[in-house]
């Protein structure tokens, strides 16, 4: 038996495979395809204080080995989440993490306070990296002072595990990682989508209603891996890596680069069972390589000469 478990602070995860926000609904969407409770955790859809309709259709465009999305945080708001969704998913035997979003620092703080009261939510993921909203979102994650301010404010208001999700749309991601670590984040997840664009040449207009959107999928994996590697070397807190992971081998690359865990995003659209297959693949790899704990391979390439 191999030990796949890892911890962020005092929060234990049974394995390092989580699902990424906005790509796995709230979990029940996937019940027909897999046992959600087998996952290390699920990060549910980006949640805001008030209900949001998101951006206009079309909000998706397929691109080579990936897709652009401009969903824009469509969700029914925290009240609806608490009353209607939370009761229906709190039975999952896994760590349920809420991805929180706001236009102002106060929005993030209020949301974190609300979620602090929900027993079955042991952690929040602070999304300061959504490229698809006019206010807030990526604006917090692409300015060091704003990133510091929002992390500090949420840290003061929230006592459980705080994960901050970074944007790749910056010149030096390590600076952001260090700032949120300094402000008391328990973990860093990265990367969110990369700002991109696509044009329909037949119709001679942008493919997305918002013109630009967030690129995800295998197309971004090398960039994501590089950033995860840089950040993992620069901080002491656990790093959760994501961006274009489709296969076991993709996930292993992130772990070997220094991520303590991975999130599976767009892959779940292509294969709703991708997360579980990757989990099984990681276990098999560890056994074949003769390791007994996942920890032994985390950051392996940074330790060996």
């Amino acid at each position: 038996m191999v030990n796949l478990g890892f911890s962020i602070g005092d929060l234990h995860f049974k394995n390092p495979v989580l699902t990424a926000s906005g790509t796995f609904g709230y979990g029940p969407e996937f019940d027909d395809f897999l046992d959600v409770s087998r996952l290390g955790g699920i990060v549910v859809k980006g949640t805001t204080l008030e209900p949001r309709e998101g951006n206009l259709y079309p909000r998706m465009a397929e691109t080579p080995s990936g897709m652009l999305n401009a969903v824009g945080l469509q969700n029914k708001g925290i009240d609806y989440f608490e009353k209607n969704i939370y009761p229906s998913i709190s039975g999952y035997d896994t760590n349920i993490i809420v991805n929180i979003n706001g236009s102002y620092v106060d929005d993030y703080v209020t949301l974190a306070e609300r979620i602090n009261t929900l027993d079955k939510i042991p952690a929040v993921e602070l999304n300061i990296s959504c490229p698809n909203v006019k206010m807030g979102g990526m604006a917090f994650g692409t300015n060091l002072d704003s990133a510091r301010e929002v992390t500090r404010a949420v840290r003061a208001a929230y006592s459980k595990i705080l994960i901050v999700k970074l944007s790749p749309n910056v010149t030096n991601i390590v600076d952001f990682a260090k700032v949120v670590e300094e402000e008391g984040a328990d973990s860093i997840s990265l990367i969110n989508t990369i700002l991109g664009m696509s044009i329909d040449v037949e119709k001679m207009r942008p493919a997305l209603s918002t013109i630009t959107g967030g690129l995800s999928g295998p197309a971004i994996k090398p960039v994501a891996l590089r950033m995860v590697w840089q950040v993992a070397k620069a901080v002491k807190i656990p790093v959760i890596g994501m961006g274009g992971i489709m296969t076991t081998s993709d996930a292993l690359e992130f772990l070997l680069a220094g991520a303590s865990a991975v999130q599976i995003g767009t892959a779940s659209f292509i294969d709703p069972q991708a997360s579980i297959k990757i989990l099984e693949g990681i276990e098999k790899y560890l056994i074949e390589k003769g390791f007994s704990e996942i920890k032994e391979i985390v950051g392996y390439i940074n330790r060996t000469k």
Partner: protein, 255 residues
């Protein structure tokens, strides 16, 4: 109804003309009961240019042989790749997905309207209506006579009317200008086709107080309600075409 992901065997890939082909797929396990209007998400080949699955309607079902058919129009790279599959190849599908067309009220006079690949779900719907005692009229629009699909099976369901844009068969012009709309009086119209066509039919139905259901063809990523990419603006806010649709009553839509 539980959704599944499965490799299905192609028992026949039949080319109808330059535009259309039909794949007949055979399942290992017993097929679930499909509802007309439901669709499948097809994994093309996982190549960089056809990264996402392609939504395709269920065209016809044969529970006896445990097979079903997809009628596919070649519109781009994914459908082109699918058209080249051979008998015996396997295709990975997530199915069955989406809601379904509703049954009309008793004795209602029904019209099915399809354009382009929108004819696909109407065979299954037509057979379903027939087995429930209805005799719908059917109206199809194609670009020209060379693109018309085989109509025998539709003729067994009801009367079939045609339009072609060049007048090479049936009435000339767009589907919405067919004389059936000035002569016929229908209680309910089911429609599937290009957006502009469905909007025109919906407009006609609203003006003439005819009940109407349309099957939307919004772009999709997941097909299972997880990504929120396929939304349609309705009187009840944004709904997902993949789980709340693809079939919508036009009274729900803000058309």
């Amino acid at each position: 109804m539980a959704k599944r992901i499965e490799d299905l065997k192609i028992i026949e890939n039949k080319r109808l003309n330059n535009d259309f082909f039909v794949l007949e797929l055979s399942a290992n396990d017993k097929l679930p009961v499909f509802k007309p209007g439901q669709f499948v998400q097809v994994r093309v080949d996982g190549s960089p240019k056809t990264f996402l699955r392609r939504p395709i309607s269920i065209h016809d079902v044969d529970y006896g042989r445990n097979t079903f058919k997809l009628l596919i129009q070649i519109t781009g790279k994914g459908t082109k790749t699918l058209s080249k599959l051979s008998n015996g190849d396997f295709l990975n599908l997530i199915y069955p997905l989406g809601n379904s067309f509703g049954l009309p009220d008793k004795n209602e006079k029904i019209l099915l309207v399809g354009g382009g690949c929108g004819v696909a779900p109407l065979l299954f719907l037509g057979k379903y209506l027939k087995s429930n005692g209805y005799v719908p009229d059917i109206l199809f629009g194609f670009r020209n006579s060379e693109r018309i699909i085989e109509l025998e099976e539709y003729l067994e369901i009801g009367k079939v009317f045609l339009t072609t844009e060049d007048g090479s068969r049936g009435e000339k012009g767009y589907i919405t200008s067919h004389s059936i709309f000035s002569n016929g009086t229908y209680d309910k119209i089911y429609c599937c086709g290009p957006d502009s066509m469905m909007r025109a039919i919906a407009g006609y139905c609203k003006k003439n107080n005819i009940a109407c259901e349309v099957s939307l063809e919004n772009l999709m990523a997941c097909g299972i309600g997880a990504c929120l990419c396929c939304i349609v603006d309705t009187v009840n806010g944004n709904l997902c075409t993949c789980i709340d649709g693809p079939v919508f009553n036009i009274t729900e839509l803000k058309w």
